[in-house]
């Protein structure tokens, strides 16, 4: 084996690196035909590549426009490029044709010059139109991105009784516009990243400069730059890539389809991440308190909103503990159940062959399967699930003596409670934790439940979201932020941004808090 000298090796490595960097090594030439041929070859001459050749005026200059149909606004190309060039044929004079076309003829706002094949192909693949002119090494790239997109609709995943009805769509430009419409602040920042080696998707980090703590912004930027994937089909890829702990069942970054939700959190001092191709925006950092809040809380009067929040905390308690408590009480501490109820439970469990733990886990798993199946099924067959679930599993299981009626009540109440948690990703986390509680309760009763509860708490206090403790503002305690936590104080009292985010711009009262803390 030969081994080149160190210098040569370094040189080679440098060269090979450069080679891999510029994968499209073909250059733009002055010959139009060569250029078009190169373009075709690069893209593999696909069926949706449109090359329209034209001849400019009396100069008999050959030119061509290249675009990909379907992702471009063809009407724009016809009216503002082709038509204008052809109508202005006479006025175009021989010298500096390209400049003239660039500055005078074409009626498109987003237009730039390029002589790099890499940029050109990327632009064309992005829906732009490339304008080649014979005899020139420069190509005009015109922003004609368009094509069919979904229109703005009310979001399916987060419905509100009262509040704005618009939801994000797959098109990132529309999504950015939706946020811009809410926050007309010059300090609103859209920092662009690119994700996906192959998909080259746009990723926008939004924040309001002067509110959001710059450390947070830097940290998120740093994490976003580490993303290394081929294709990002949804923002959840980004979420999973940049989250603090992948071992945790709890989502450390929130997702939402609602522009008002994003805008609200942006002015609170958080960050949002938009990814091209998905209607789900990410909001970070998230804390445990956020998981039980809904945008709807702010659209109700404070008293009813507070009561609803309390109700949600109660239902979170049910969703987590109810089956576990049933197991613990029935199998370990029957003395705690009021005697009349204890008798009826005992009577109804008379024919049930299993211990309470098996019964509860059986019903729990059945419900999870029903839930999962309900998501998979098309809407038309969806009703079947209701019948199967309600009649067969609920009623028939009781008559067959597999489970007790009280177990059905427990399962149903747990299910309803877990659906009232506004954030779906948190609801899933709660489902996971619920089974941990059930298993602990079946081995150690109430003692097991409290041990798992302590463990969940240990996990939560050590968990972070972009460096912000997940258990804040409960602990580390920020009493001022409790105004909008379990309670939702009147809007007139919510004049401060959350202190736990360390925002740059907070009301004067906050300086005092900082001092006292030190």
């Amino acid at each position: 084996m030969t081994r080149p000298s160190l210098f040569n090796r370094l040189l080679n490595r440098k060269q090979s690196k450069e080679k891999s960097k510029t994968s499209f090594s073909t250059k733009i030439t002055k010959n139009l035909d060569d250029n078009l041929h190169n373009m075709k070859q690069l893209l593999g001459d696909p069926g949706d590549l449109v090359i329209r050749e034209l001849i400019i005026g009396g100069l008999v200059k050959r030119a061509a426009i290249v675009y990909i149909s379907g992702i471009t606004d063809e009407q724009l190309i016809n009216n503002n490029i082709l038509k204008t060039i052809q109508l202005n044929l006479k006025q175009i004079d021989s010298k500096q044709i390209l400049d003239q076309i660039h500055k005078e003829v074409v009626a498109i706002t987003d237009i730039q010059k390029s002589n790099n094949m890499d940029d050109i192909s990327f632009a064309v693949l992005n829906g732009n139109t490339a304008f080649y002119l014979d005899g020139y090494e420069t190509v005009l790239l015109m922003g004609t991105t368009g094509g069919e997109t979904r229109s703005i609709e009310p979001p399916d995943s987060e419905t509100l009784i009262r509040g704005p009805k618009d939801g994000f769509v797959e098109n990132i430009a529309t999504n950015m516009a939706l946020i811009r419409r809410d926050i007309k602040d010059p300090n609103l920042r859209f920092k662009q990243h690119e994700v996906g080696k192959r998909s080259k998707q746009k990723l926008i980090l939004c924040y309001v400069e002067g509110i959001t703590n710059p450390d947070l912004v830097d940290e998120v930027n740093r994490r976003l730059e580490t993303i290394d994937m081929d294709f990002v089909s949804d923002s959840s890829y980004v979420e999973q890539w940049i989250e603090d702990s992948f071992l945790s069942p709890f989502p450390q970054i929130l997702n939402t389809e609602r522009p008002d939700n994003v805008s609200y959190h942006l002015v609170q001092g958080k960050l949002a991440i938009l990814v091209d191709g998905t209607p789900f925006a990410l909001i970070a950092p998230a804390t445990i308190g956020d998981s039980l809040q809904s945008m709807g809380d702010y659209n109700q009067r404070w008293l009813s909103a507070t009561l609803l929040r309390l109700l949600r905390y109660l239902s979170a308690f049910f969703a987590l503990f109810l089956p576990a408590l049933y197991i613990a009480l029935v199998s370990y501490h029957p003395g705690m159940i009021p005697s009349t109820l204890a008798f009826s439970i005992a009577a109804s469990r008379e024919g049930v062959p299993f211990p309470a733990a098996i019964e509860a886990i059986l019903m729990g798993i059945t419900f999870e399967i029903l839930h999962e199946a309900g998501i998979r099924l098309p809407k038309v067959i969806g009703q079947t699930i209701g019948i199967v679930g309600g009649l067969v599993i609920g009623d028939a299981a009781v008559s067959a003596g597999i489970v007790s009626p009280i177990m059905v009540i427990v399962t149903a109440l747990t299910a309803i409670a877990s659906f009232s948690i506004p954030t779906y990703s948190v609801a899933i986390a709660f489902r996971t934790v619920r089974f941990a509680f059930m298993i602990a309760a079946s081995f150690l009763g109430l003692y097991g439940i409290i041990l798992v509860y302590i463990m969940v708490n240990i996990h939560l206090v050590n968990l972070k979201s972009i460096g912000v403790p997940y258990s804040t503002p409960f602990a580390p305690t920020f009493i001022k932020d409790w105004k909008d936590l379990i309670l939702r104080a009147p809007i007139t009292k919510l004049t401060q941004r959350p202190t736990y985010l360390r925002p740059m711009d907070n009301k004067s009262g906050d300086i005092k808090t900082e001092k006292r803390k030190e």
Partner: protein, 368 residues
């Protein structure tokens, strides 16, 4: 992935206020009313609680004050500057030993009490081992995490006690509390000694104040935290005496029996002593986690090259072996008493020693 500075290593002064009750409220207070009722007459036991409480408040203040003279210095550092390095190492290791003993006692006590109030058939080793495991999980996390757990769990304890006291109002009898001041001096002396047991654990302040960013207000906070403890003890004691009278003397853990006796209207739970005890486990847990953490912290101070998690895992079997030593409830309680007296003795000794050195020798400004 985390670099957003959140002062993870540092704690706030307010956390010291939470720390003191979290450390002190644990197993011993459960039997405090019984021990006092044995040596005092009617409700006179509050005097010993308050007297020893005032001593404890002063002690906490002095400990915190001394530690706050040396901001951001570890116990080993400032103790070395006061009483030469070898003695400081010995003191630190004594605190480590004390932490291990307290942990072992609390874990074992959990086992014994759970056996009595929650289940009789489960082997006690499973109960203690599972609890110890949870404590290890907490200690191997961040130290800030333990402080956060304190502030998450402490409200539960106070709320539980307040609910308990509120619903026992209907069961109180004035005749149980009267007559007042009929105890002899001997009884008061004994009572003070016994109630002092429930104030052991102040030593943690020596170690944790080092993590407070600006410990100027820490002594006051520690004293306030101790004040809460004294108030809670007096409240518990009064309620037990008012409900049970002289029968408190024969109840093993009067507070839990109080929860057994009362009935909460609405009839959702028939007997709430299990619920009350389960909530109390949170308080015992914070105590155990803190003392375990102190043990680990003290050892890593002396041997800075040791890894925190490794120390934790090495101490765990040792603690478990100690938990299996006492045979029955009486021995567990005796063990607890020894541990508490040892702790109090150590605290008094170290505080007087260090303060004495501080006043006599003074201390040079730390060069930096």
């Amino acid at each position: 992935m985390s670099t957003f500075k959140y002062g993870d290593k540092m704690i706030k002064t307010r956390d010291i206020m939470v720390l003191v009750p979290s450390m002190l409220i644990a197993v011993v207070v459960l039997s405090l009313p019984r021990m006092l009722a044995g040596v005092t007459n009617a409700a006179d036991g509050w005097i010993p609680i308050v007297v020893s409480g005032i001593v404890a408040i002063l002690l906490a203040w002095f400990v915190a004050k001394l530690a706050s003279f040396f901001p951001n210095q570890s116990f080993l550092e400032y103790a070395s500057s006061l009483v030469s390095k070898p003695i400081a190492v010995i003191l630190t290791l004594l605190f480590a030993l004390e932490g291990i003993l307290i942990t072992a006692f609390e874990v074992r006590a959990i086992g014994v009490i759970s056996e009595q109030y929650l289940f009789r058939n489960t082997p006690i080793e499973i109960i203690t081992l599972s609890f110890l495991w949870v404590v290890v999980y907490a200690v191997s996390g961040s130290r800030a995490g333990i402080f956060r757990l304190n502030s998450l769990f402490l409200p539960f304890i106070f709320i539980a006690v307040i609910i308990l006291v509120f619903f026992s109002i209907g069961y109180m009898e004035l005749s149980n509390v009267l007559p007042v001041f009929k105890t002899d001096v001997q009884g008061y002396m004994q009572g003070t000694m016994k109630s002092a047991l429930s104030y052991s654990g102040i030593g943690v302040l020596f170690f944790y104040i080092a993590f407070v960013r600006q410990p100027k207000r820490a002594p006051g906070m520690a004293a306030v935290g101790m004040g809460f403890v004294v108030m809670l003890y007096v409240l518990i004691y009064f309620t037990c005496i008012a409900v049970f009278g002289s029968a408190t003397e024969v109840l093993r853990l009067p507070i839990i029996d109080l929860a057994k006796a009362i009935e909460i209207p609405g009839g959702f739970f028939e007997r709430i002593e299990s619920v009350f005890y389960v909530i109390w486990i949170m308080g015992i847990f914070t105590t155990t986690a803190i003392s375990f953490d102190i043990a680990v912290l003290a050892i890593t101070l002396v041997f800075p090259k040791l890894n925190k998690i490794k120390v934790t895992l090495c101490l765990t079997p040792l603690i478990f072996i100690i938990t299996t030593m006492p045979k029955d409830y009486i021995e567990v309680e005796q063990f607890g008493n020894y541990v508490s007296y040892l702790d109090l003795g150590l605290i008094f000794f170290v505080t007087i020693l260090l303060w004495g050195m501080y006043l006599i020798r003074g201390v040079k400004k730390r060069e930096k």
